[in-house]
């Protein structure tokens, strides 16, 4: 893949700056609202952004009806997990959110969080949590997906780890009240690791378009990429390095963990066999498509691989931008052929 194709591609994956700004503004507004809310103020709420918005790895959704996620964590002080139940925690945060003068009525409870969709463009999830007193470096406890158990997590430490991986000093915008930390990397210039994560996430979205139930989570992709990144100075070499170094997991269990939190839980065990195989297949296909893109001499083939990896619309618009110094295929003597009628067309089928 040439640097030029890559730059053109990456450009198409971005969400518009206006949309970012809007998401940022609404998220900050909600965070300040919660931080100052009488109902939970006594619990000294700490608010911060987590996930791809914080890491600066958001990609444009593949369908216009899909939203991009902004995740906010709301940590309420509690002496221990026995002094507050998971239900109470969710209700307290929920009540405070629903008191928001403009958006409150739109909040809906979702597993482990409260969620709101804004302008059909983005979805803000507010995840309630409490401090994890066993953690040395600011870990928290949130509900698991079934809302049965407490789950340990540490978004701030993960962010710090990722940020160190991308070899860049954290810029803390400390002009706001301490309780609200709206630091995120979306508004900064993207570094090669972040762009490589965006590329892999987009390839994941296309690969699992027809089977969203098997789709690996963003944090799995992000962690693999960060672990395989070696500080390469540009996106092309970062991506090459990541796809060459990332594990194939073809034998044995998958362990993608950071600080004891294994993000690959949904990929292990007999019950997740299909997900695991689909994930291994995805890594293989991604590697193959990237290598093909980097080696092709022909514009038509580049378009094919971009389409298979990133989507047909992006392929058309990237190729529309230029020929990137690639040759055009000369097709000698093409025969005009008519397709048989519909019921005499075989649907492609692989026997195993």
């Amino acid at each position: 893949m040439t640097q030029a194709i890559l730059s053109a591609l990456v450009h198409k994956l971005e969400i518009s700056p206006e949309e970012y700004k809007k998401a940022e503004r609404i998220a900050a507004d909600l965070a300040y609202h919660l931080a100052n809310h009488q109902g939970i103020k006594a619990r000294n709420p700490q608010l911060y952004i987590q996930g791809s918005f914080r890491l600066g790895t958001v990609v444009k959704p593949i369908d216009s009806d899909q939203k991009f996620d902004v995740d906010i964590v709301c940590v309420l002080a509690a002496d221990s997990k026995s002094t507050i139940t998971k239900k109470e925690l969710k209700e307290e945060v929920g009540k405070a959110l629903q008191n928001h003068p403009v958006l409150g009525y739109k909040f809906k409870p979702k597993p482990r969080c409260w969620s709101i969709e804004v302008d059909n463009v983005f979805k803000i999830d507010v995840v309630p949590g409490i401090p994890n007193l066993d953690s040395q470096n600011g870990g928290i406890l949130i509900q698991d997906k079934d809302e049965v158990r407490w789950q340990e997590t540490n978004p701030k430490a993960y962010f710090k780890w990722f940020d160190e991986k991308r070899k860049r000093l954290l810029v803390v915008k400390n002009n706001v009240k301490d309780a609200v930390d709206m630091t995120h990397l979306e508004s900064e210039r993207r570094m090669p690791l972040q762009t490589a994560v965006q590329i892999l996430k987009r390839m994941r979205d296309i690969h699992f378009k027809d089977r969203p139930d098997l789709k690996p989570s963003s944090i799995v992709i992000t962690t693999i990429a960060a672990n395989s990144y070696n500080g390469e100075p540009d996106v092309l070499s970062a991506l090459n390095s990541i796809i060459c170094k990332m594990p194939t997991y073809e034998s044995g269990e998958i362990d993608i963990s950071y600080e004891g939190e294994n993000f690959a839980n949904g990929l292990s065990g007999e019950e997740n066999k299909d997900r695991r195989n689909a994930f291994i297949g995805f890594l293989k296909n991604t590697k193959d498509l990237c290598l093909r893109l980097s080696q092709t001499e022909y514009l038509e083939d580049a378009k094919n691989y971009i389409s298979l990896g990133f989507g047909a619309d992006i392929a058309k618009s990237v190729i529309h931008d230029g020929d990137f110094g690639l040759k055009r295929r000369v097709i000698g003597n093409p025969q005009k052929v008519y397709l048989p009628q519909q019921d005499m067309l075989a649907k492609p089928w692989k026997s195993h």
Binding site: M344, L345, W349
Partner: protein
Amino acid sequence: MEISLIEKEFAELNLVFTDLKILEDGKTIHGPLAFQIEGFTDSFEIEIKIPNDYPFHLPSVYETSNRIPRFDKYHVNTDGTLCLGSRRKISEIFSKERSLMGFVKNAVLPFFFSFCYLVENGVRPYGELSHGSAGLLEDYKEFLGLRNKKEVLDFLNYTLLLYQKPKKRLKIKTRERCRCGSKLRFSKCHKKYDLLTAYYSEQELKKDIDSMEKL
């Protein structure tokens, strides 16, 4: 010297696809397949391997230019063999025009068209089957207009009787109710699928039944 069936059929194919060549073994055709189908103009290097017992068994087709990624998702095996469709469907298609030309035109080119369409539009033009036995079942369900595995297997096991010698075949009375559960007489309902026995061998059908039974 007598001209073999393959030589004759290749000559017919070669009149249209002039760049294709046949190897000395008389069983391997290779070269670029350049086509223009519904606005898609493209060319793929292919190799067609014709089995000894052609036309009772159908040729395998390889995409030798390695332009389509060798990956399940795109229905290409790692050795480059194209997964054109279910054995039954390809046999049915071949039965309509039993020649290499018919095979290339009706089974091979639509595969490349389907790929070009996928690349341009992000979806397959007329769908695809799931991998393995699940895909076979989808194909039979659609072909027979039946709803589930049980109905399909019941019907196919019943069809197996049709391969028997004429004496035994008499067991199937066209006046009796069709096994598909429609309450119609066999003659008014699934009699037309008798045709399956004309283009699909008993062994092939048994193999499909076995594989679907394991589902």
